[in-house]
Symmetry: C2
Subunit: 677 residues, 2 copies
């Protein structure tokens, strides 16, 4: 059993004295803090970290408190003061400007010198101040002088002497009120009686892409010409197409050799025929495993070339890491101890009884050789890191132990703090949240199944406010190779537009699985399923990227808007506004100063035109109730003149069923012209 944590330097043990019974300040209710400091919060470089706490002491003395923070746990603590808000709540902040782990904690103390000055001001106002009061101050200052360093020590001992020896009340009062020397003195508090918060809290600082990213998922197998298996070279030829749409992450499903045992045929058929490529997630064959490349895609050299070419187009490569094997994976032969064996001397394949997935072997994480297994899986990441990959989409992390991921991600990020891990977990919420807490940089969400205004509002509010927003960064996907939701199955172009615009404006990070998405691919494998018919997971496809219905231009426009408006590059300021039509939704994002504000309004019905009155929270928009303002639709270029809280919107699926408004507040009125004077 671990020992109890004590927040302050006190003890609850009966009869035993605390170490320092005179440390009177207490610190509680610290925020942000996840699970009592068990997990770090997440920030990106350049972020302000705002820390709040309840800080108080007995009695009526004045309190001071400092926020201590440092980069890595061997650095010197830096400190910045807290300021009091209301109701014993205090706030401080600092900026994180290095990738990696920061720590922060709090010290607080009863500040006798500040109390003396505070009381002296009140005595002075009442005319009851005396030389005795000034001599009491001299004693306090003398104590600070003893702790002062360098010239400060002399400055303060001189000041204490002046006050101690004073005989003229008015002259001494003037000296007692010296604010400059007071500030010097306050910098040397008595550390012996300070209370230190009992926990050192941590921050993982990521690069900006952890917060703001636009993902494009692509099956390389389907990029070939004339029915040929696509290659990395084919993918390179698509880079301009993807870059023009404004994406910055290009994510590929597993690129490894594909197993032949129990290989699946088209549409997840349990039988395959010669020539069927199989599922990229059935990893491992005679050609190799997780550190090898499917020969049809090309060589390792080709892959590295693709990584570089993508970078030239502003695209960062993301790889899918799926920790499972086909029956043919070399691990099965080389490391039988990493699998679970059945009494009939066969390996336990994946099962969800009575369903069987005989083409997939899970790892046995309860093996006695778990340390070796963990190390090997870590080496898989290291291998691809060496090839230049810094972003990983991790397949089904919720089917591997949490402790494994925590160890893996922390140990990899210690060496490579620029790594980004996207958790592909669609399971129960607390499991998904735990994966985010323990270290995943971004997380898939239930977005695909949140299609009504009420659902979106509830869910996005949960995702974008503390405590969740301190550790989970949502990545919103309208579709994935596994999820063609019923809303998109309508096949209506407006449905795709709506889901795209919602994802791109609700989420600082979002992604699409293309070209299925921009080409409005919408037929399910069978009614009631979310699988695509003729899914690329099991066969090659050919896409007509120049189809006139393609959404590529709209996607490019939306991504351009995201790039041009920093408000859309974060989720912290997401705010929903009321609208009196339940099939419509309205929300804004602003920068912290509310100088720039985007307001998005979407008609969620892909079949009908809708209109409604928005009830705007003008404070959130930074708009003056008494002056008109302009809303400028960045999609159409239209500008509307609005005024006050209540404003009318009408959106038709026949046009673009959404407004992405930039709020333009500074309209000219007669007050702005000379002739008004």
């Amino acid at each position: 059993m671990t020992s109890k944590t004590r927040e302050d330097r006190t003890t609850a043990d009966s009869g035993r004295y605390p170490v320092e019974g005179r440390a009177r300040a207490v610190i509680e209710g610290v925020s942000p803090e996840i699970d009592a400091g068990r997990f770090p919060i997440k920030r990106v470089i350049g972020d302000r970290v705002v820390v709040e706490a309840d800080i108080f002491a007995d009695g009526h003395d004045q309190i001071s408190a400092d926020l201590l923070y440092r980069f890595a746990d061997d650095a010197e603590w830096m400190r910045t003061p807290f300021v009091a808000l209301v109701n014993d709540r205090w706030q401080s902040e600092f900026v994180v400007d290095q990738l990696g782990r920061y720590q922060y904690t709090i010290v607080a103390w009863v500040d006798h010198l500040k109390t003396w000055r505070h009381d002296f001001d009140r005595r002075l106002a009442a005319g009851t101040h005396s030389l005795i009061d000034i001599k009491i101050g001299a004693d306090h200052i003398a104590a600070h002088a003893k702790r002062a360093r360098g010239e400060d020590a002399k400055t303060l001992s001189d000041w204490a002497g002046e006050l101690a020896d004073a005989t003229d009340l008015d002259a001494a009062t003037a000296r007692a009120l010296d604010g400059v020397r007071l500030a010097t003195a306050l910098a040397y508090p008595d550390e012996a009686l300070q209370t230190q918060y009992g926990r050192e809290l941590e921050i993982v600082v990521d690069r900006e892409r952890a917060r703001f990213s636009s993902w494009y998922e692509l099956f390389p197998r389907s990029t070939g010409s004339n029915g040929a298996h696509g290659t990395f070279g084919d993918v390179e030829r698509l880079l301009p197409y993807i870059a023009q749409m404004g994406f910055d992450v290009l994510y590929l499903p597993p690129v490894h050799p594909i197993g032949r045992g129990f290989r699946k045929g088209p549409n997840n058929n349990v039988d395959s025929e010669a020539g069927d490529p199989g599922s990229p997630w059935a990893i491992g064959a005679a050609e190799g495993g997780h550190k090898s490349i499917l020969p049809e895609l090309g060589s390792l050299e080709d892959f590295r070339h693709l990584v570089g070419a993508a970078a030239d187009h502003g695209l960062e490569m993301a790889l899918d890491i799926a920790f499972q094997t086909s029956p043919d994976h070399p691990y099965v032969r080389e490391h039988p101890e990493w699998f679970r064996w059945r009494p009939d001397n066969t390996v336990q394949y994946a099962e969800n009884p009575p369903k069987k997935y005989q083409d997939i072997y899970p790892f046995e994480f309860e093996t006695d050789a778990w340390r070796e297994l963990w190390q090997e899986l870590r080496d898989v990441f290291c291998f691809w890191i060496e090839q230049g990959v810094r972003i990983f989409r991790v397949d089904n992390p919720h089917t591997k132990p949490f402790a494994f991921w925590e160890w893996l991600i922390n140990s990899l990020k210690t060496e490579h703090p620029d790594l980004i891990f996207l958790s592909e977990s669609f399971t129960r919420p607390k499991v998904m949240y735990r994966l985010a807490k323990l270290g995943f940089t971004q997380s898939y969400t239930y977005y695909a199944w949140r299609n009504t205004a009420w659902e979106i509002r509830e869910y996005l509010t949960e995702l974008t406010t503390p405590p969740l927003s301190d550790y989970l960064r949502p990545n919103l996907w309208p579709n994935t190779p596994d999820i063609l939701n019923e809303y998109l199955q309508s096949g209506r172009r407006p449905a795709f537009i709506i889901r795209l615009i919602l994802a791109a404006t609700l989420g600082a990070s979002y992604g699409i699985y293309g070209p299925a998405f921009e080409l409005l691919e919408h037929v399910p494998s069978e009614p009631g399923k979310e699988e695509y018919l003729d899914s690329e997971k099991y066969q090659l496809r050919q896409w007509n990227l120049d189809h006139p219905n393609s959404l590529r231009d709209l996607i490019a426009q939306v991504n351009q808007i995201r790039h041009d408006n920093a408000e859309l590059q974060q989720n912290r300021t997401l705010h929903f506004h009321t609208i009196d039509n339940p099939t419509m939704i309205a929300y804004s994002k602003s920068d912290a100063e509310r100088r720039n504000v985007m307001l998005t309004v979407v008609n969620l019905d892909p079949y009908h035109s809708h209109s409604g009155w928005i009830d705007l929270d003008l404070d959130v928009l930074g708009v003056d109730e008494t002056r008109p303002f302009q809303v400028h639709d960045l999609l159409t270029g239209d500008r509307y003149l609005w005024s006050g809280r209540h404003n009318f919107v009408q959106l038709s699926p026949d046009a673009i069923p959404a407004h992405i408004f930039k709020i333009r507040r500074h309209l000219l009125t007669e007050h702005d012209f000379d002739y008004f004077m």
Copy 2:
């Protein structure tokens, strides 16, 4: 700096493996838990302690979890299983039946045997079960058999053998489904792979009076006849009067010698005359200090006799402990190191600049001799404990260090777990809450300043729901010697009745300062003040207890209702019901099974009659929407027939402006008679 807390057996330290990487279950979101276990929760003897937690693991295996609990930290852990609720939330409970400190924590694990049985049931249902599946179960059972004790070991190894050797599927299936032996096996999980929650949480278990108490405060000085200073003997003669009103705690202001230096005269006059008794809170004189008795009240022997006589009347004595001294207190001479000295060699008196309280010396808790000071103050409590006192009202605890109180209360309750400490702190909320957290058994509240329906509803909801209700027990006082609120200053009898009934039905613990309260004493010292005119704090008073306007009979009736109805003896089930008149308030309290329910309705306007429609939460009342029910007013005996959510009430200050209803659900209808059949 203290080390980081880890909730599970994992580590975030980069590169280093956790102790046991195969412990796959995680435990988080434990409730109740105060400040990450920094403080204990509070319960009374006989309470069920319901513990919830989020418990889950990776993958789809079945989970098991146990709640571990023990009395005192050297006892054996007892265990009781958790059951799953929804959304990975689990619940368990146990009963505390001893006074003192309990501890509890949680273990959880992936339960392979339970998983095997769960999967086997599904295979069986699908008809895909096989002998291999049964042999896998045999392996699990054999592992449990190795850990089993006594006969269980043989039972299980026999079972494992039967299944391992089976050749007939149907026969083996029947044996595999053996629920009795399964239950035996499940009791021997593999502890090596269990996850233990990282904290041991604590419970302070008090006696029932901590939760349910009715206090009567009295100045002994005013119990004398014909203007004489009252004595403990006079108080004894009043015991039947107090007991008849149904109180169970009799609380006296400080009974110690009163200082003469700077003694206050009537109405807090800075000058006193010979014969003025001074304030009981100016403690200490030549006759002694905190362990002495004011000679005018009697001897220590008289006090002990009073304690016994009170007990004979069902009244428990509570003493006021105020840690401050008059300038005449022996401590000032004997322990000058316990006071703060000014440069002019005088002791620092109490001040709130520019106000001065020269009759009161505070202790200097930052003295180097703090340990000796703490010990002496503890000895003060021990002295009165030896005289038979077990309840203490502590004066202004928020002006002494929190660490001191935590040490004091914990160390005293280790020896005397039946002690009750009431925190007399009227200051900022977080300070008051901290005092409750660190150990005070009950707390004064802002009740006196919560007079409108909205205020009462908001405040009482905060006080009676977690997290506050896990550590703070409110004690509601309509008046105190320091607080004659403006509502009561109206002097109207209905105002006193309203405040009494609210306190007695909202709060399981409440108290009045009498006889001022029952005699409708209501004139302030000056307009805009809450001090009483001619306050007993500074002078003797004579009370006509037989005044015809006295509320004594109503108070007796209300206390009788509290005694007869256990629903009113706790706060946990307090629930407010909507009423469409904002000057009225309605709330219920029920027992956990909702068999017994009290519904109180109060007109808060002491001047006018009001009526309104209540919108009842019938689920909370345990009432069937389709059947009428009776509400029985225990104050008047009136019975009303109600039906459904909406019911009418009218209350006039000319009569009793409140209903205290008992809900009577089981009314006869035609269904209950033979002839309906």
